[in-house]
Amino acid sequence: MAAFTGLFRRDLRLALRQGGDTGLVLGFFVLAVVLFPLGIGPEPAILQRIGAGIVWVAALLAALLSLDRLFEADYQDGGLELLALSSLPLELAVLAKCAAHWVATGLPLALISPFLALLLDLEPAAIPVLLVSLLLGTPALSLIGSVAAALTLGARRQGVVLSILVLPLYVPPLVFGAGSVEASAAGVGVRAYLLILAALTLAALAFCPWASAAALRQAIE
């Protein structure tokens, strides 16, 4: 347990200290969202209709940015081999890294989404739904992303291959996350969407650390 929290705190400190990860991701998130009204036109009715989708897609793309740094540093300096050999199971090590990644990127994304919702003129009732959907969905993004990051360690053009791999896998959280906000706008039951989203995150929690660890073992073989 001490090893787990130790690894979590170390990764979190690294991510926040460099300032790069969190600031970069948030900056990209805001810029991407702002681009849409500039490209589509500022008509409130249209923005309201597609706003949830815009925020979610931008969150996906922003989450992609920081993924290749998840294992890269440890892979380069040999820390990954040490992690694999340590008493902490590699699956738990992956989980600790994903947790740190989420706190440094996914959580801030979710927390500033209400302000972006205001930019896009979403209905007041939809804003808490957007926030909750992102809070429930972004852990899944970190977890699924860790699998792709582990698979592409040491690849040429890692960033591009990682994006190709991970975006199809991001489709279920996107569909249900953005769908929950659409449902609230339509007055239909939001709970079903959010419950499925939570189920996706829980399934990712169960499956992804194991898959990532398998991929990491192949990488350091």
């Binding site: 690849a155 040429r156 398998a214």
Partner: protein, 258 residues
Amino acid sequence: MINWLANPARFMRLSGWALRWCAWAAVAVLAVGLYLSLVAAPPDYQQGESVRIMFIHVPAAWMALSVYLFIAVASAVALVWRHPLAEIAARAAAPIGAAFTFVCLATGSLWGRPMWGAWWVWDARLTSVLILLFLYLGYIALVNAFDDPSRGGRAGSVLALVGVVNLPIIKFSVDWWNTLHQPASVMRVGGPRIDISLLVPLLVMAAGFSLLFLTLLMLRMRTILNERKAMALRLNAGTAPAARSVRERAAPVHPAVP
């Protein structure tokens, strides 16, 4: 028998012979299938002649799913039993599966336009098959992204197994969600629900596609084995004969093993 086939040299000998036979069989069966599909099969009372697209679309869909399953099984064999040809088989099969998936989507779109009025709808079945195409393309991108081919093969194996969860989603998507795409008529509990005059061309085309898959699989596997041998020869080529034989006695190089 799988272990007996594991020897790459033996595989090269056998496949050289089997390849020709398989290729001709594929051409013959596909010719018969095309005749049945385009001429012999009756037009549907509702869909008219456009039902002939089904004889390409459905077998292509079956192949798209089966080839991915083949890749997943081969990947599992590669990871668990370290069979030397398994990773090569998976790598060789991927472009074939991607081609069948693309054909399935394109012919489906051409069938959907007159039937549903739309070139594309975002329903569960179409979307999950599109995701399958992206999985194929992602797999191909991943295995080719590494300078060391065995690293690429290992990463690809893990990816293939991770993506296998998409297959039941595709198969059952028409049951789980209200979709525009019609539910299963052939592969279902209780037997096929389709008229025999339409079933026979379907099965013949499916057999033809399968033979085509086997032919191209063997051809591509032979290509990869040749390329690996060539790479090994190139790596050895720079050294003098005496030094090379000393090195080879110390650590024999098997060019065909990945």
